[in-house]
Amino acid sequence: MSTETIEVTGHIVDSLLLAKILDTILDAGCDYEIEDVHIGKTSLDPSTARIAVIGDEAKLDQLLDELQVHGANRTHQHDVHLVPVEQDGVLPAGFYSTTNLAADVRVDGTWRPVENPEMDCALIVADGRAYTAPMHKVRAGEQVVVGSDGVRVHAPSHARDTQVFEFMASEVSSEKPKALLVTQVADRMRAARRRGGRVLVVAGPAVVHTGGATDLARLVTEGWVDLLFAGNGFATHDIEADVLGTSLGVSVAEGKPTEGGHANHLRVINEVRRHGSIAAAVEAGYVTGGVMHACVRAGVPFVLGGSVRDDGPLPDVITDTVAAADALRDQLGGMEVALMLASTLHAIAAGNCLPAGVETFCVDINQAVLTKLADRGSHQALGIVTDVGPFVGQLTNELLRDA
C-alpha cells in the first residue's frame, strides 16, 4: 500500500468537486484521509483540502492521473534535500527522522525504496540507494535526507490477508480466548516459515520463572526460532534452572525457595565466566539443557544485551548497549515474525529496530507493558495479556503437534 498526498483548492464545495474527488478515490478501490480542510466562509472565498490517498501502488498512479484532471495535484513532487554529514555520529540539523513503515525517497525524479525501514533513524542516500542508519553510525561525508520533501511513507499493508488484519487490529487482547490466539500465532509462524521468513524470539526472565524454558528450548531445537534476543537475566536463570533446578533461587519444579538460593544465579554466572562463554560451558558439559543450551546445540544465533543492573554478567553479554543494538540489527534480515515473551526493555529495543511489516506478538501478564510497546510506535504489535509460561507451552504443543 502507498500513500500520496493531494491538494485541491477553489470553489470545490459548491462545484461538488471535493465530493467528486472523494467518490472517485473510493470508486477506484482506494481509500483517503482528509489531512486538512479549510472551507471558505462565503461563497466568494475559496476552500482548500489536503487529502492523503491510500491504495495499491498500481491503482494509485492511475487514480492520481485521473484526479489531476479534476484539479487535484500531488503535493510531494520534489526530490529529497540532501545534506552531507560533517562530523561522525552527528546528523545535520533538520534531519528526516524515520518511521518503521516502508518508505520511498525521490532522487533525481525517481522514487527509490528504503532498503531497511527502521524507526528513529536517518535516511542516507548513496549510489542511488536509500537506507536507514541510526545516528551513531553515520560518517562524515554521507548524504542525509533533511526535511520531509521527497519522502513518501507507505501505509501499513493490510493486504496480505484480511483475516490477519482483523486479528491484528485488536491490539491488546486481555478479553480474548487464549487458545484461539495461540492457534493464530502458530498459524502466522507457519505461514512465515512457508514463505522462507525468519522468526525472532525476545525472551525475559519470567519465561524461566514461570516454567516456559523447557518448551521454548524444544521450539529452538525443532527449528522454530531463528534468532534469540535476551538479556543477562534470561540467560542466567535459564542456565541456573538447568544446572541447579532453580530460577532466582526458587525451585522451578516445586515453586519453593531453596536454602541459599538467592546466590544461585551468581554461582552459575561465575562458572560460565570460568568456561569463557556459554558455548564453552555447553561443550564442557556444565550446561546440559535449557534454551541457551538448545541455541548452542542447534546453531541458533543469540544476542544478549546487557543493562546497568546486571550481575556478572555472563561472558556472552554485550555490555555496550549501542553495540548490542547493532548486533541485533545485523541479524534482522528476513525477519517476518517476532515473539516478545515477557520482556520489556529488550522487547522495546527489538521493536525499535524492526520494520513495521514484521508481525509482532507481545505476551505479558501486565497489560501496561504491551501498551507501552505500542506507544513507542510499534503499532504492528498484537498484545496478548496472559501468563507467559503456559502460553509458550500451548504454542509449543500447537507447533509441534504434527511433528
Binding site: 477553489g10 470553489h11 461538488l16 461563497s43 466568494l44 484539479g71
Partner: protein, 281 residues
Amino acid sequence: MTAGDLRWGRRILMCPPRHFGVLYEINPWMSSEVKVDADRAQSQWGRLVATLQAAGAEVVEMAARPEVPDLVFTANAGLVNGDQFVPSHFRHAERQPETEVNAAWFAAAGWRVDRLPEDLDHEGAGDALPFTPEGGHTVLLSGYSFRSDARAATALADLLGCPVRPIQLVDPRLYHLDLTFCPLDGRRALVAPLGWDGYGRKVVEALVPEPLVLSDEETLAFCANSVVVGTTVVMPAAPLRVARQLEAWGFDVVECPVDEFLKAGGGCRCLTLALDVALSA
C-alpha cells in the same frame, strides 16, 4: 423577474470570417475534407451581425488575420470582467497563436490584461459563462476536461474576484461549456445535461431555478450555443418545443443559420464575445 433582465450581451465583439476555413481537426465536428463555402460563411456571419444589431446590440469588429482562422470564434478570446480581460490559454497548438492577438487587441482598446498561470489551459467565454440568480451573486460556471483545466477555475476566481464553479464536460462533441449552457435571465437558462457528469448536473440544478432542459437532439443541434440580447434569443436552430417555451417566458426567438461555422463545431454564441460582462460587480 422578467425576460430580458440579463445585464450583459448588449456590446459584442465579433471577427469577420475573411480567413475562416476548416484547416485542422481539433473537435469531432471538424473534418478537413469538408470545404467551407467562404461566400456563404461571409453572408451568414453578416446576417448574424445584422440580427444582433436589430435586437439592440452594438457589434464591435476585430480584424481577421490569415494565420489564425479560428479568430472568428471570438467567444474563445478570453474572459471580460468590467475593464479587465483575461486572455485564453488554448490547449491545441493550432489555436495558441490567438492568445497574443487577443491580448494585444484588448490592451489597445483600453482593457487591463491579466494573465492565467502559464501551465493552465482555459478557453475563455467558450468554457465559462456567468449566471446571476435573482438577488444573488454572480457565479461563473466553467467547463473542464476537453479544452480547459479544472485548476484554471481556481486561478480565474483569484483573478476575477468571483466564485467559479468548475463542472466536468464528458461528451467530446460538446467540448466547450457554451454548447451546453446558455443563461437567459436571473431564473432561466438553456441547459444540456448530455454534456455533463452527474456532479455537474447537480451543480447546475442548484444554480438555475427554472432550466429549459434540452433533449440530446436539441443539444446536438447547438441550441444552447445561442446569443441573448435583452429579450431576443438568437439561435443557430430553434426547434418548435424550445421556441414555444422561450416565447411563453416572454422571449423573441430568431433562428439564424450558421451551418458553415457548424462545420468547425461553432454556432452563434461561438462567434460572439460579450464585452459588457461585469462579474465582480
